[in-house]
Symmetry: C2
Amino acid sequence: MSEPLRTVNVGLIGLGTVGGGVARLIKSHHDEYLAAYGIDLKLTRACALAWEQAEAAGIEREAFTSDWHDVVTDPAVDIVVELIGGEHPATEIFTTAFENGKHVVSANKALLGRHVETLAEKARACGVQIKCEASCGGGIPIVSTLEHDLVGNKILTIAGILNGTTNYILSRMDAEGADYADVLADAQAKGYAEADPSADVDGFDAASKTAILASIGFGTRVTTDDVYQQGIRTIGAEDIAQARELGYTIKLLGIARNTDAGVDVRVHPTLIPADHMLAKVNGAMNAVYVVGDAVGETMFYGAGAGSFPTASAVVGDILSLSEQISRGVVPLPEIEPYGHNLAFKPMDELQTKYYVRLKVADRVGALSETVDIFAKHNISISLINQVEDGKSGVSDACSVIFLTHRALEKDVQAAAAELASVDCVAEVANVLRIEDVEAWTEGVMAN
Amino acid sequence: MSEPLRTVNVGLIGLGTVGGGVARLIKSHHDEYLAAYGIDLKLTRACALAWEQAEAAGIEREAFTSDWHDVVTDPAVDIVVELIGGEHPATEIFTTAFENGKHVVSANKALLGRHVETLAEKARACGVQIKCEASCGGGIPIVSTLEHDLVGNKILTIAGILNGTTNYILSRMDAEGADYADVLADAQAKGYAEADPSADVDGFDAASKTAILASIGFGTRVTTDDVYQQGIRTIGAEDIAQARELGYTIKLLGIARNTDAGVDVRVHPTLIPADHMLAKVNGAMNAVYVVGDAVGETMFYGAGAGSFPTASAVVGDILSLSEQISRGVVPLPEIEPYGHNLAFKPMDELQTKYYVRLKVADRVGALSETVDIFAKHNISISLINQVEDGKSGVSDACSVIFLTHRALEKDVQAAAAELASVDCVAEVANVLRIEDVEAWTEGVMAN
């Protein structure tokens, strides 16, 4: 080893699932990092609420503190790793660390989804970096891919299975013909889903990640609030079965498109062709499909959560910073990364095909009334299919699936509202989008 | 834009499919790179055998030369891009460029597959870098992923569909039930396969890429010569059909495993479970499946060839070097990257299940004789299936498929040799490995 070795001091805040994994990974791989990269990585400070947590993660007694200020102000610390999540005190940890000249590695999608731009500006002003590979897609190196590897491209589309819990639920519903509530209950019993599952099943988690990936991929300002959001609670076994019969798979996708009509960002259950690569991603695994104008279609697949997969991303960021620090080179702040200020395409203006499931009154003329309402809103129907479900919950109504031709979101929502208000419709059970995956590759350069 | 802008001068050698794509990508995206990264990327010199080639790629007259020495010795050039392929004069281009203080970006898998270590040493001695993202997997950012993003892991397994031509042929054989020769002829007619297809169908191309990825992923010396190599010429429609019936898909895989028994590197047609992510990669697309001990299973999917996909990788490398050059920071040479000097596991010692197709004489006792030969070589058979193919080419013989239990490569090859020599066997049509994909994730850290 001819390079000078240097100790890089890490200050770790948060010793939960991910933080504990990071501590254990750094400890078990210390000698390998030293041999391979010349980096003597030390967990110099570690902060958790209780010593027991730190002890379980193998932290030395003298490194432990329960006050995060001790970590971010410690002159020895080169890199602060924030793994507590949430907005506060994470924001204060970031800014105090920056002011003390420390780089920050974080997996905090909630914070970065809302404030990546202002935090990046602050880091830039202080001459330090934020690295957030672990905030999206767990162990999948997707942030780095967008930030570095695909920079020769204009990124046209990002479409991701970004939440393992919902993909696990939808995959099991598909494999077993099971109902949402039953699979969710089982997933909760097994620890795959939280007691309060809303961050996952209502799409918040995926929306934060979609915002971060769109910001980085498109080089523009996208926050979680810009992302249209619809969850999977209304998806039933009959929807999955119907979709499959029509050649589709239902996935909760975070979709970001960089179109001439503006940036289109949304999270919702989506019908995609069953032979699309994203449709083949099952269980709790994540995948991010990216289209660049030069590279064309790509997909990046891996574990989106879990202690060691996420720790892999965190430690990758730490080592990336360390390789520069260890040679005395100050890591370069990125050039103003969100400079494009692209306009958004309003959700109302989305045009695609739709899958609508209604509970229609079981009487003559009811179906014809519903079709009239679609027509009144400029929506033309390509298929109507009455579903035998035997458990519609409304004894004098039956489930009917409508597939539309290409229609305008605004019109479909207006039609859905009117359908919900008329006597012949007992329930508008689902309004789902059938994604035009062909459009995802529009703008790819012809070879 | 508050950062100082700087012109980065690129010298491009080779203006074929990839070189032409690089020239056109740099030209069409010049303003975008300037706006987004502050880099004024200039194609200062470009070398091709004929001016017409350069003109077609949009090269300025004054930048053109037909002598590569003009490019590597031009004091203005910061980065040399070598896209001519082959060993000579590519080797001289690399070394002269290094001696002139220039970084080299290359897609030259043949050269790097044999000499990546010595070239990297030379670059290191000259204080410059080699970037070779485009040498493996075309547009898929797999080199960077192994070099940077997954550095927190011990890489356990790399298994890739690294050759688009063979995946296209195998996918079409699978979809259409077609024979190898027919699909190859059609692929040649359409320009998907070369007139002399041996580099693709015999596995040379995949072997070079496997060597490069294993070198980088495991941090050890692996050259193309270390990679066991078997192509797809012997695969027939009946093999594909039989495999499918047994729940497998046949893919030409480049497999590299970092095991306690040594590094195991090989390219061969492989039976993998039909529900494995690699089995779902169809057509000319490539994918690299990587297992790290922390991150677990990952897969990276995209176009493995083509003008703009490969140019995406080349320009990604150019911009990565440029971001450092443009701020006056000399890109850091990597720490001795192939320092592990791991031992190889001899191919003879491979242990897995096998798929063997024999043409067995159509007479009483013939089958029993073959089974005896397997038994004599310590190979136990799990399934025997006589195939009705109607076109075996040997009128008094029939195709019989044997699946083995776990056996030793050495024993299987010895049995195959003996089977080939006995009267009751007309032909040993195929000896294929059924990959133990469960073993690929052995050593992953438990969450």
